[in-house]
C-alpha cells in the first residue's frame, strides 16, 4: 500500500487527476450549497408564513411535500432521476447533477432554518407585534437575526455532509475534464491504473476531504463567533 501511495504522489498524471477532481468537488459543493441555502430559506419562509397567513397554506403544503420526498428518498435515486429522466438533455449532465445536490440540500437547510426560527422565544414576536410593528418587519428585524445564530451550526453540518454526498456524482458516468469528474472519480481512475488497488487513492482523496472539512469547521466557528457578539456584551 505504501508503495502505491508513493506511486500516486510522485506521478504527475495521477496528481493531475486528483487536483482536477478536487476542483470539481469544491465547485460542485459550492454551487449546491448556494442553491441549497436560497431554496432552503425560501421554503422555510413559506412554511413559517403559513402560520400567519392563510394565503400561504397551499404553497406551504407543496413545500412540505418537497421536504418529505427529498428527505425521504436516497440522494442517489434523486441523482439518477434528474440526470437520466427529468433533465436528460444532451450535455446537461453536470448541471442536472449539481441541481440535484442543491435541491437535496435545500430540503435539509429549510428544516434547519425553520427550526431556528421556531426556537426564537415567542415573546420576541409578541413584543414586536404589540408595538404595532407588522409581522414581516418583526420577522426581518427581530426574529431572523436571532434565528441565524441558532441555525449556523446546523447549516455548517449540512454543508459538511453535502461536501461528502457530492462524491457520488461520478455514478452517472464521469469523463475526465467535465464537471462530473470529482475527487472520488479521480480515486477510481487511479485505482484502475494501479491494477485495482483502491485503498491508497482512497486514503489520499480522504485527506483532501478532511482538509476541506476542517477549513469549513474553522469558517463556521468564525461566523458563529461574530454572530454571538450581542450575547457577550
Amino acid at each position: 500500500m505504501f508503495e502505491d501511495l508513493g506511486k500516486i504522489l510522485t506521478s504527475s498524471e495521477y496528481m493531475g487527476y486528483i487536483w482536477q477532481g478536487f476542483g470539481t468537488t469544491l465547485l460542485v459543493t459550492l454551487i449546491a450549497v448556494l442553491i441549497g441555502l436560497v431554496l432552503g430559506f425560501i421554503v422555510a419562509i413559506i412554511k413559517i408564513a403559513a402560520l400567519n397567513s392563510k394565503w400561504m397554506k397551499i404553497p406551504a403544503f407543496i413545500c412540505s411535500i418537497y421536504t418529505t420526498v427529498i428527505r425521504g428518498t436516497p440522494v442517489a435515486l434523486q441523482l439518477f432521476l434528474m440526470v437520466f429522466s427529468i433533465l436528460a438533455f444532451p450535455g446537461f449532465k453536470p448541471v442536472a447533477a449539481i441541481l440535484t445536490f442543491g435541491i437535496n440540500s435545500g430540503a435539509y437547510v429549510s428544516e434547519n432554518i425553520r427550526a431556528g426560527i421556531m426556537s426564537v422565544d415567542k415573546g420576541q414576536m409578541e413584543a414586536g407585534r404589540s408595538l404595532g410593528i407588522p409581522w414581516t418587519y418583526t420577522m426581518v428585524k427581530i426574529i431572523f437575526p436571532q434565528a441565524i445564530k441558532n441555525v449556523v451550526p446546523a447549516i455548517g453540518n449540512e454543508m459538511i455532509s453535502l461536501l461528502k454526498e457530492t462524491s457520488i456524482i461520478g455514478w452517472v458516468g464521469s469523463t475526465v475534464g467535465t464537471l462530473t469528474f470529482d475527487l472520488n472519480a479521480a480515486s477510481g481512475i487511479i485505482a484502475l491504473g494501479l491494477g485495482g488497488a483502491y485503498l491508497a487513492p482512497s486514503i489520499i482523496v480522504g485527506c483532501f476531504y478532511l482538509v476541506v472539512v476542517y477549513a469549513m469547521v474553522l469558517l463556521i466557528k468564525l461566523v458563529e463567533g461574530r454572530l454571538r457578539k450581542s450575547d457577550r456584551r
Binding site: 422565544d121 415573546g123 409578541e126 410593528i133
Partner: protein, 297 residues
Amino acid sequence: MIAVKNLYKNFGKTNVLKAVSTTVEKGEKVVIIGPSGGGKSTLLRCMNLLETPTYGEVWVEDKLLTPVDPYLHPEIIRLSSTYKRMTEGGATDEEVIAEIKKNDLLRRFEGRDYASAIRTYQKQNTLDVNLARRKIGMVFQHFNLFNNKTVLDNLTLAPITLKLKSKAEAEEQAYALLKRIGLEDKAKVYPSTLSGGQKQRIAIVRALAMKPDYMLFDEPTSALDPEMVGEVLSLIKELAASGMTMVIVTHEMGFAREVASRVLFMADGVITEEGAPEELFENPKTERLKDFFSKVL
C-alpha cells in the same frame, strides 16, 4: 375606551373565557386579580388581539378590532336565512333571536344579504390591528426586550420602523425616557447584561416610546426577584398618577389595592366580582373571592 363584548376564548376544548364583557374608560386603572388559569392574562391579551377571541368583539374607541360577531347585532341576525326560516314558522322576532343566540344557530353561509351586511359593517368600523396596537402599549411578564438590539435600539425600533419619528428624534426621546428611569448609562448595552428590574423598566418605557393612550400590564412583577419588584411597581404607580389608562393583571394585592380605580376578580373564565378596591377587599361578596383572599392575603 377599550370595550370587550361577550368574549369567548376556547383553546381546543377548554373554555378560557366565557362571555366576558367589560369596558375600560379613559383614565381608569383596572386591575385584574384571580387564581391562575382563570383567564386574566387571556382577557388582557385579547384587548390588543395578541390572542384572537373565538367569539365576541373588541372595540377601541369607536373602532372594531375583531371580526364582527353577528350574535351581538340583532339587525344582522334578522338578515340571515336561518332567521327568515324560523319566523316563517310563526315565531316572534324576540323569540327567534333569543333562540338563535342561545343555540348558536347561525351557519357560515346565511344568504347574500347577511354576508353583505357583515361586510359593510366591517368596512365601516374595522381598524387595522397594527394601527390600534400603536396606541395600546403592552408590558409582558418576561419583559420580551429584543435580545439582538441594544437598549437604545429597543426604544427606537418601533417609532423609526413605523416612520413616526426620525432617527434623531427617536433617540432624543429614548434618552429622555431612559433618564426618567435613571438608566441613561445603559443605552448602548444589550438586554442580556441587565437585571430583571432594569429590563422590566426598560420594557415599560419602550412601550411609552409609542406614546400610547392605554397600557396593558401582564403580571409585570411575577418574574422578578423580590428586591426588584419595588422599582417596577413604583414606575407603574408613577405612570398611573400621570393619568394613563391602564389594565393590570397582577398577584400583588397591596399594589392592586393602591393603584386600582376598579378591580376585576376573574375565576373560571368569568368576571366573578368587580368593584372599587376598598369595597372588594373589605367586603368580598362571593364565596369564590373570599376563598381566594383567604389564600393570598
